[in-house]
Assembly symmetry: C2
Homo-oligomer: 279 residues x 2
């Protein structure tokens, strides 16, 4: 059975995108994936802050207030639909435009929102994940690193590899072979009571939950966190590994290839911090 889904374009229920559209043509836009609990979007401010940074870098006209309003409209509709947990994808496209790469002089961005019911109880920590290694690597692009823009082919290809490998997630490296992330989440390694997470200077997405771990949850537990250049050896020698994203919160890692982890103590403790922020 397909997942129940509802879509809005510029605040109106829609089933099709008017053409032309630059997000379709060039990936010219940004997105956010928000977790909704009974129609309430969680950690909205962090999502909007990342979106705002992206709008600035891509030189979009300011449409953050409009996007926020339309998010509330869609969230209200999800509330009425009675979905306990939902994933809401908020996409901002640069909108229509004439042929060619150059953005139109008078840009009218479009807000495309799609909400899907989730079957999981997102208040519970997911079972520990198995990881494989994706052969496709992140591109080197410091100008766009950290942003959640619409150019996501590497993650698409890595997700296909992950499925073929039969694991829950796949580790993605940068062009020099350093560890960056999993396909849909930021990685954290525990080494001697210290957390480390890959620095996102040249690639990767700066996740909202990554930010919460660094700025709030680890601090609450008295755990130091460092953004570092991390190798596969660092990953394999870690005492504990977990990843985070907006839908799962934090998820412990059970294995990466032949390496297995049975302790998920720190992830569990951080998940309890996360749970406190849930409604």
């Amino acid at each position: 059975m397909p997942t129940p889904t509802a879509t809005w374009i510029d605040g109106v229920r829609a089933e099709a995108l008017p053409l032309p559209d630059r997000a379709l043509a060039f990936g010219d836009g940004l997105f956010e994936t928000l977790l909704l609990y009974h129609g309430d979007p969680l950690f909205t401010e962090l999502h909007m802050q990342r979106l705002q940074r992206g709008l600035q870098v891509l030189v979009f006209p300011d449409c953050l207030a409009t996007a926020s309003e339309q998010l509330q409209v869609a969230a209200g509709a999800v509330r009425k639909l009675g979905w306990p947990w939902a994933a809401l994808r908020l996409t901002i496209s640069r909108g229509p435009g004439p042929r060619g790469y150059a953005p139109p002089v008078a840009t009218k961005p479009r807000v495309i929102i799609s909400a899907s019911e989730l079957s999981d109880d997102c208040q519970q920590m997911a079972a520990a994940a198995t990881l494989s290694l994706a052969t496709v690597r992140w591109p080197t692009q410091p100008a766009l690193a950290g942003l959640k823009h619409l150019n996501r082919l590497e993650q698409v290809l890595a997700a296909a590899e992950c499925r073929a490998a039969g694991t829950d997630e796949a580790v993605m490296l940068d062009q020099s072979g350093q560890v960056v992330s999993v396909v849909a989440g930021n990685l954290f390694l525990l080494h001697e009571e210290r957390l480390q997470t890959p620095v996102l200077r040249d690639c990767g997405i700066a996740g909202t939950r990554r930010r919460l771990v660094i700025e709030q949850w680890a601090t609450a537990l008295g755990l130091p966190v460092q953004e570092s250049t991390l190798s596969l050896q660092d990953l394999e020698s870690a005492d504990e590994v977990f990843y985070c994203n907006s839908l799962k919160g934090l998820r412990p890692v059970a294995s990466f290839g032949q390496r297995h982890w049975s302790s998920h103590t720190v992830c569990q403790a951080l998940f309890e911090q996360y749970q406190r922020g849930l409604p």
Copy 2:
């Protein structure tokens, strides 16, 4: 007045794209821009060869025959519309799919074709172009280099810079500062009766007209061509510079910053080779 345009999805005239669509969500797809003369697509085989390579790399089901058929349908319609010259954009999206990066197990690619009338007489060589330098650089991604996929944010940003600079085109560099291309075209430099063009190992698009210059037109003139790593100094010290793309064929370069070129002899001779291939 907006350019007359017509759009087809899966062979049927359309004005909107059914949602969800993975080209919109992730830039999960490929495209080609073909030049049509009275409804006849030019150099179709080269476009289809690049498309086929892209379909393989992105692990799409083989849909080349379908795309070719739909190209013919659209081209036939353009013929009836009576447009002397037209640009036809053929986009292949991975099509619909559930939430998340992983491609659907049963992928049904979509063929989206959009044709626009061109006001230029494409049988004539365009006036020599002025070039500026874009600050945004190509991402390093050998796995996708050469392909015309839908992740094109860098060219969008470079095109915006180019407009702000007031030039016809902008030079784009790779992450190490070597010359790769202009925003919408491949560059060629003449040094002492030899042509050089940037090697596209880590980034850039392997243009159909670039291939024709290398494999046919330069040979016809007895000019050696080399794919090389090329610096800004190599560009500035060139005896002659031109770029090529599917709509302009070859276009001479008049200036890059303070450097001016008045001789376009080789570009002119190559353009005559190109003209012979036109109907």
